[in-house]
Symmetry: C2
């Protein structure tokens, strides 16, 4: 085997149950007594998915948030979470983790139902897991597949803030107070569960943006058997992002490949435009059409109508989501 892709291929061979959705989606969708249960499990590893000196409370928040983001992409209402925690004997870190976990549980209105704590060998990095279970309406659980030629492609909120925040932290910037919004976007992502539920009836495909707008759009294209065109100049940037990184083709390319946005990316038929606008208004968020779906395959990138070569890296591929 050459790595993660091969292992996921082995898992796909085992996951033949329809609820697994071929391991091509953000979550599993289990039909039970006319109700759709949405199940997801994400892990984060110290030094891989978070920085060893990230505040423990923020690590806890992020662990919950990334799983809530998967539920949001399915339009699901969270029912509970199970925690898999690695004890390393760092009691202050663990106390702060518990505080951040409590804040995240309250913030997303989801109860802690159980889990497991394990002792790690001395010096080993922490590996943390969280399972989330949610409830979604019958028959209407969006998937990554389903985008049709002619559909519009939307994103929620702004793109690239978390990536800019991470970049600042990695460079050891000291002007955190002036650009705090970008660091907060990285450390305390805020997936919008209510928005996911409001949008679910109107979308043809939906996913969360965890690894980068471009790579997640490419996954929708692949799962849907269509091509997705993204207009780089339409990608919404925050004022904080522009203040920090400027508004250039280069900064926009960094935004759409940065990952950690935890925004929603979805396709919808143009006849749904008023419904989409209504959902945005009810949830008090901005939704932006950033592209369209067409016959063909793969991803195509435009800037002011001009076709651009795809960047060598569309986003993060370190994460091998099985659901």
């Amino acid at each position: 085997m050459s790595g993660e892709g091969d292992f996921i291929a082995l898992m796909r061979g085992l996951a033949s149950h329809p609820a697994a959705r071929g391991l091509m989606d953000d979550a599993a969708v289990l039909e039970l007594d006319g109700r759709s249960l949405v199940l997801t499990h994400d892990m984060i590893v110290e030094g891989v998915h978070y920085r060893p000196n990230d505040p423990a409370g923020d690590v806890a928040w992020k662990l919950v948030a990334i799983n809530m983001s998967d539920l949001a992409a399915k339009g699901a209402l969270p029912l509970g979470v199970l925690l898999g925690f690695s004890l390393t004997g760092a009691s202050e870190w663990e106390r702060e983790f518990a505080t951040g976990l409590g804040e995240a549980l309250a913030g997303f209105s989801v109860p802690l139902l159980g889990g497991d704590t394990v002792a790690m060998p001395p010096g080993a990095p922490r590996a943390l897991g969280l399972t989330a279970i949610g409830s979604a309406p019958v028959g209407g659980v969006p998937s990554r597949a389903g985008a049709k030629p002619g559909d519009l492609i939307y994103v929620s909120g702004t793109i690239g803030d978390a990536g800019a925040g991470l970049s600042m932290l990695e460079r050891g910037h000291s002007d955190l107070e002036t650009n705090e919004a970008l660091v907060v976007a990285y450390r305390r992502p805020a997936p919008n569960l209510a928005l996911g539920r409001a949008l679910a009836p109107f979308v043809s495909a939906m996913a969360d943006i965890s690894d980068g707008l471009l790579i997640d759009a490419a996954r929708i294209a692949k799962a849907s058997g269509s091509t997705v065109h993204i207009d780089l100049d339409r990608v919404p940037l925050s004022a904080a992002f522009v203040a920090r990184c400027g508004d250039s083709r280069e900064s926009r390319l960094s935004a759409v490949t940065a990952g950690d946005d935890y925004r929603l990316l979805f396709s919808a038929d143009p006849s749904r435009t008023a419904d989409i606008a209504g959902a945005a208004a009810r949830c008090g968020v901005t939704l932006t059409a950033v592209g369209r779906c067409a016959a063909g395959e793969g991803l195509t990138l435009f800037d002011a109508g001009q076709k651009l070569p795809l960047p060598a890296r569309l986003g993060y591929e370190h994460r091998g989501d099985l659901a």
Copy 2:
């Protein structure tokens, strides 16, 4: 904080939802539309819960089995599992893991629904997690609490085989072929889901024996607010165990504190004796009354009617089950 107990206390402070059962049980029990969903998540860490040179297929089997054991203790029918897998680049190991996982999924008739794979930093031990979801009958999901004075205490199968197998492996014994049953008991535990479902209507409390008969009995005593008396001389030993370890007070004390049995431990009113015997007969297993419940608190150990001091160590405490 002084360690795991303190962290679990923090988690208990967060887990106020009734489905969490105060984090005192083998699993969470979520009531949903008149159906009881049973949720459990267990992790295993290389060098802590399994030996680094244990065969990868056996590690996969064990990861599934320990979670199935939690479902069995709730009388639940498994609906699916989610895997959290650590990639380390050891492709042969990962292929064998996938093979063993497939065997376990088939063996326990449970589908793989999804999960996550993460890359570990070089040299880090593997941390593997599995979440299992099951369905249990309404209103009748056994807990650790519920044992009443006068109830009999039973175990399924034989006790101590896995511990004897682990001890042989740790001592590097070469006579594995003659005592293969003990090694198999350690490496491929076989929790009995059908037995759990058959017993659930008749028990007053039920748990699986994961950390040692004595420590798991003490947890039932604590959760039930009663005392549990265990008769050491009634604890059922296998022929393979006796051939290897003999049948002495010492070998029996090692059996009841060894852990990894993944048998069922339960209490039942004496009026249920015929029902219990019927369930045993239908499932083709042996159930043995090894003690009784009385007013008071804590655990008491007898051997041939003589009260024994409790061993300093009742079982494994490295595992901090939150559900």
